[in-house]
């Protein structure tokens, strides 16, 4: 069937993407100038050539790049061994695992709020054309789309901290660091508020805009006239017939946009010093901690690929006609 074909193709694409990201990771790491061993121990520290050689062997750097190192790396990665962070001296997998939940909560919350509000407000705006709600939604969306995420974060940070006394950095306050998040939920919530708000605004504008135009298009379709002729009220027409059809373009956009969500997380976590994958990615870049950078990149890419695939699945569920483009 068409659906199976569609999903198979998408799964193939996902796999290919992961392979390509792995390839990029592997190549860049080898292409980088300088001696990785030096970076491990830090500049300026003197060690004996023997010790250097030992490290070299430990990292497998004495082997030929292709195929030995490639095969070895692939094998290790498949086992979940992403190496050891140079700066933190801890296994990369462990570091990533400790940051992932923070980011998932941040991004998930923001997406949830943005999608629910975006669908609702976009629908109302598209339905009640040329009303203040419609014009307001449009104006908000256009500006929200034009605002750089990080700058919006800075503005909200200033406003939030000066007017409402909200914390400006971290996942929890310093005294709560290390405690399980569930036990310090109020504190965690206060820290989450501004970053989530920033990301929500950024996505809300776009989702609203798409929903708004999509609902308009759908409302001009013939089956809407059929639904009205059946004696349905405007609201019933909207809920039963227009909503699901209008959601389809939104799902597509969300699927394409998952990468954008990652960008948003990097900016927001940087601005709010929020200890998640985005911040980790940024700091490992600054510290030139390549194993960590590779791992973070890989994890981000795989998450996006998975999220993308989930959106495709959702599309198949929502739309019985699946067009394989």
């Amino acid at each position: 069937m068409d659906r199976r074909r569609f999903l198979l193709r998408k799964a193939g694409l996902a796999l290919l993407t992961i392979l390509v990201v792995f390839g990029i990771n592997f190549m860049l790491f080898r292409v980088l100038p300088g001696d990785p061993v030096r970076s491990v121990i830090g500049r300026g520290v003197r060690i004996t050539p023997e010790a250097q050689e030992a490290l070299r062997q430990q990292f497998g750097l004495d082997q030929p790049v292709f195929p030995d190192q490639l095969v070895a790396t692939a094998g290790q990665w498949l086992q979940g061994n992403l190496g050891v962070s140079w700066s933190l001296r801890r296994p990369v997998t462990e570091v990533l695992a400790s940051k992932l939940p923070n980011t998932l909560i941040l991004v998930g919350l923001a997406q949830l709020v943005a999608i629910v509000l975006g669908v609702l407000l976009g629908m109302l705006a598209g339905w009640k054309r040329k009303t203040p709600l419609d014009v307001g939604a449009l104006g908000f969306s256009l500006v929200a789309w034009s605002v750089p995420t990080f700058w919006l974060g800075i503005i909200l940070l200033v406003v939030g901290s000066t007017l409402f006394g909200l914390p400006t950095a971290g996942v929890v306050s310093p005294e709560n660091t290390g405690k399980p998040l569930l036990s310090v939920l109020p504190d965690f919530g206060r820290h989450l508020l501004l970053p989530v708000l920033t990301l929500t605004i950024v996505f809300l504008g776009e989702y609203m805009l798409i929903m708004r135009s999509s609902i308009r298009e759908v409302l001009a379709d013939d089956y809407i006239l059929t639904a009205r002729a059946k004696g349905l009220s405007e609201w019933q027409v909207l809920r039963r017939h227009a909503l699901r059809n209008a959601m389809l373009p939104l799902v597509t956009v969300i699927a394409i946009n998952v990468g954008f969500i990652v960008s948003g997380a990097i900016y927001v976590e940087t601005v709010f010093s929020y200890d998640g994958l985005g911040k980790l990615f940024q700091s490992s870049l600054v510290k030139q901690d390549y194993p960590l950078l590779q791992g973070a990149f890989m994890l981000l890419a795989v998450s996006v690929v998975i999220a993308n695939f989930i959106a495709d699945l959702l599309y198949v569920v929502l739309d019985p006609r699946v067009k394989d483009t």
């Binding site: 054309r129 449009l138 789309w145 990080f150 800075i154 708004r212 030139q288």
Partner: protein, 318 residues
């Protein structure tokens, strides 16, 4: 930042209609033109150079001087004039965006037209590459590439690195869009008619397909420019701009890193952000109005305008 150009374009277009077409277009054009004016006329608009340190009567550098002490926009942490940085920053931001945008547009159009018109294996191959690039999260990929390129001691300006990386990554949605448009146009009857008359491939691409695609390319260029401004500012904010040639993003990077926020120096971190919103919004509005202008058939389902009478379909479109 998002590559989801196609749906947004449609959405913006419709949004524009709601507010009236020419007013919004003119507004967008004014926004863009003022930014270019700043960039071109920068030396005429300020008496300082971006690196000049403003000193008070005693000869001390004025750090974080507010606008009421040093107009019009005060000074930064090193005592440099913010207004001067802003107008010179326009040069950097716009140059990077325009060059990167054109690279992206060129690659995107070439790939899109080739894939769409040639079809077959070339199409499959090119689209596979496009799809993969489309899925890989863009910002991490760019950051990794930039970091790598910088490590490689290529002796090129950081701005050149930015331009190339943005240009090499932001062509994908354009390529998809143009390919699908070429495929649509290729199947249209007037192209068949040209073929049936005996027209060759080159004639068809040049005379029949390109004219239909051109408006899309032009409009998409403008929209890509708005994305490029945003991307450049983001990368610069993360510290990958050229500190010696600060763009608006770099200014924000300085402001954020050098505690302009804790010092309450809003005159340092507000103007560059507003400038970015200004230009991005301007390009976005302009792009959508141009789309309508250049393409008489955009609204043109064939029931419109063609029939001799105002039919129900005609009027319901209103």
């Amino acid at each position: 930042m998002s590559r989801a150009q196609a749906p947004r374009r449609g959405a913006l277009r419709r949004g524009r209609r709601a507010l009236g077409r020419n007013k919004l277009g003119a507004f967008g054009a004014i926004l863009v033109l003022t930014a270019f004016f700043l960039a071109v006329c920068a030396p005429l608009l300020t008496q300082y150079a971006p690196t000049d340190v403003i000193r008070d009567a005693a000869g001390h550098g004025m750090t974080f001087a507010p606008p009421w002490e040093h107009g019009p926009l005060g000074t930064d942490d090193a005592g440099r004039d913010v207004w001067t940085q802003l107008v010179y920053g326009a040069r950097i931001s716009l140059t990077v965006a325009v060059l990167a945008g054109f690279i992206a547009m060129f690659i995107g159009s070439t790939v899109g037209i080739t894939a769409g018109f040639v079809g077959g294996r070339a199409d499959t191959g090119l689209m596979r590459v496009t799809d993969v690039l489309l899925v890989i999260p863009d910002l991490p990929l760019m950051l990794v590439l930039i970091a790598t390129l910088r490590q490689m001691d290529l002796h090129v300006s950081p701005l050149a690195v930015l331009i190339v990386v943005i240009g090499l990554l932001y062509w994908t949605s354009t390529a998809r869009l143009i390919r699908s448009q070429v495929l649509t146009v290729k199947e249209r009857q007037f192209v068949d008619r040209s073929r049936a008359i005996g027209a060759g491939r080159i004639h068809i691409v040049r005379r029949r397909i390109l004219p239909q695609i051109m408006p899309l390319i032009v409009v998409n260029t403008v929209l890509i420019l708005s994305t490029a401004i945003l991307v450049e500012s983001g990368l610069a904010f993360l510290g990958f701009g050229d500190p010696t040639q600060p763009s608006w993003g770099t200014m924000l990077n300085f402001a954020f890193d050098r505690s302009a926020i804790t010092n309450g120096a809003w005159w340092f971190y507000l103007p560059p952000g507003i400038a970015i919103v200004w230009v991005v919004l301007g390009f976005a509005l302009l792009g959508n109005v141009m789309e309508e202008r250049l393409n008489p058939r955009l609204a043109g389902h064939h029931l419109e305008g063609g029939k001799d009478m105002v039919s129900v379909q005609d009027v319901t479109e209103a």
